[in-house]
Amino acid sequence: MRNFGEWRWGIGLVVAVLVLGLPVPQPQAKPQERVFRVTARQFAFEPPVLQVNPGDRVVIELRSSDVVHGLYVEGYDVEAVAEPGQPDRIVFVADRPGTYRLRCSVTCGDLHPFMGGKLRVGRNPWLWKGAALALWGVTLALFAARPRTREGGR
């Protein structure tokens, strides 16, 4: 800790935590019902990205166009399973902002583990906080934290 006083590390960390705690403004739209007709095939959902506002009631009607597929919404822990000719639907209120992965939950062939989509609820706070945090990290490294090198002691 010769090159970089401990108090400076402390400030760096405190700011980092503050950055993580920053509120990310969300779209202030009146909540509404959004119905998505999602078609699953090996190995994709169509449409792949569902965009809603926080507070919206989300209806996903899942249809399959080849084999049995599932659609599991990470973070909301809801699941639909559809077979060609036998659709399924899930309804939930997207009350938490963020980007949540949609994943196929029924093994449907080789690429099944990678079949997925995204549900975007408002803005993803972690994307913006992550960007701000990285920017803070770069700034800190550029101007404050003097580096340690093998030759540093000389």
């Binding site: 973070g75 099944h112 994307l127 990290g137």
Partner: protein, 448 residues
């Protein structure tokens, strides 16, 4: 030199690494598991997420390697890796230490013109081109694993030492580059002792152990990439002149010696493949997944062009433009080489962030597969029927954002160190821009 702490000062640690038994038992067990993976790949269910070859190798092993072993222990995996083991046994004519007789190897020296990691770079890229197939088809995984072992055996029978590990293993080059960021190193304690020692048992071997299997003379070692942590030198050194140090993170990266162009390129190959994998395997784009999977189809050639172009042309090209803009005092090529090591922490963070998401979604396959490795309906542990659910889904974005930010910070800091060493303080600015671009891209791919 900055702070180092030699863990060998604890006698039990010393016994643990100097004795051949712990390492042997771990390696033999891993070799048995490896054999199991090959057998299951051929005989077990072709359903990847129910097959031990896929789940054991690409989820369990990969998670341990990239999230624990490489970032914290450097080349510790190489220390216990089963791939070269059968070849080593044949080469040494022994299972457990020198027996005073030769093995069955021609013992040739590895050709001078191939003493670099370009072959490893190429091997890694080729595996990446077929990754969508290798990662999902147990039979293909089995053949790849077996092919690597046979190659290692063949190389051991013709050449001396672990030439396969050092010059050919597609994973070895990647571990070697990132091991330079790890907080663990094996180094000589007192250079004067080695310099005065005429026998150089650590390089030539004696009755206590083999000469360095990695062909490294410990005294000349300045970076972790040339040390496989096999601990032979601890066994051979008659002066107890080696230390296993805990050290600050990233200690190898900012220094004058040991920077090589082939390894610099490895840094870009790893950045390019991390971005490509995040897009292909975690992105929502089905056409991209199909392209990566349909080997030989026109769309696959598109995927290949994307991966190779990004890793070998676009990313290094962009970086060399930045190097040029930073007006180095060194030759352009040299400046490119030394500065590329600044990207190691970010690359490691990007791979860790990608792998976290990949592993969090798939780790739920591990217990069912351990209970029924072949997918034949067994239930050894009673966990075969466990349902699939992703883990960590609430914490994942925070962890990924934190990892990437940390990687960005650490990379720019390393760039400053490299700039300071070479009297080139401006070097940090292009690196900062490059790091911001890469971090932003990965954040968008993972969290957007």
């Amino acid at each position: 030199m900055t702070a180092r702490f030699d863990v060998l000062r604890y006698p039990w640690v010393r016994r643990l690494v100097v004795s051949r038994w712990p390492q042997y038992l771990v390696r033999v067990t891993l070799l048995a598991l490896f054999l199991l993976a090959v057998l299951v790949g051929w005989l077990g269910t072709p359903v990847g997420n129910r097959n031990f070859a896929i789940v054991g190798v690409w989820i369990a092993w990969w998670a341990v390697l990239i999230l624990v072993a490489v970032p914290f222990l450097g080349r510790a995996w190489c220390s216990v890796c089963p791939l070269p083991l059968p070849g080593e046994w044949l080469q040494q004519g022994s299972l457990l230490g020198p027996r005073g007789r030769g093995g069955w190897s021609l013992g040739r020296r590895w050709p001078r013109r191939w003493r670099h990691i370009w072959l490893q770079n190429a091997g890694f890229t080729v595996l990446a081109l077929f990754s969508a197939v290798i990662l999902t088809r147990p039979g293909v995984t089995a053949w790849v694993l077996l092919g690597l072992v046979l190659l290692a055996v063949g190389v051991s029978l013709v050449y001396e030492r672990r030439a396969f590990c050092r010059y050919l293993c597609p994973v070895g080059g990647f571990i070697g580059l990132y091991a330079q960021a790890a907080p663990l190193e094996l180094r000589v304690k007192d250079p004067a002792v080695c310099a005065a020692h005429t026998e150089k048992a650590c390089y030539t071997g004696n009755e206590q152990g083999f000469g360095c299997p990695w062909g490294t003379f410990p005294l000349g070692m300045v970076r972790n990439d040339v040390c496989g942590l096999c601990f032979e030198c601890l066994r051979t050194c008659t002066y107890d002149n080696l230390a296993l140090n805990i050290r600050p993170l990233g200690a190898d990266l900012a220094q004058r010696r040991g920077a090589k162009l082939d390894e610099a390129f490895k840094a870009f190959i790893l950045l390019g493949s991390a971005l490509t994998y995040a897009a292909v395997f975690l992105g929502p784009w089905g056409a991209l997944k199909d392209a990566a999977y349909d080997v030989g189809a026109p769309s696959w050639w598109g995927y290949a062009a994307l991966l190779v172009g990004l890793s070998w042309v676009i990313l290094p090209g962009l970086f060399s433009l930045g190097v040029w803009a930073g007006r180095p005092r060194l030759s352009w090529r040299r400046a490119f080489t030394v500065l590329a090591y600044a990207l190691v922490p970010l690359g490691l963070a990007m791979w860790a962030a990608f792998s976290l998401a990949f592993v969090a979604a798939s780790v739920a396959y591990v217990l069912p597969v351990l209970s029924d490795p072949f997918g034949w309906g067994w239930d050894l542990l009673g966990t075969a029927g466990w349902a699939w659910r992703p883990v960590l889904d609430g914490w994942l974005p925070l962890l990924q954002a934190g990892l990437l930010a940390l990687g960005a910070f650490w990379s720019v800091r390393t760039a400053r160190g490299i700039g300071a060493i070479w009297g080139w303080p401006r070097a940090v600015y292009p690196v900062a821009g490059y790091v911001a671009l890469m971090t932003g891209g990965m954040l968008w791919l993972l969290l957007g």
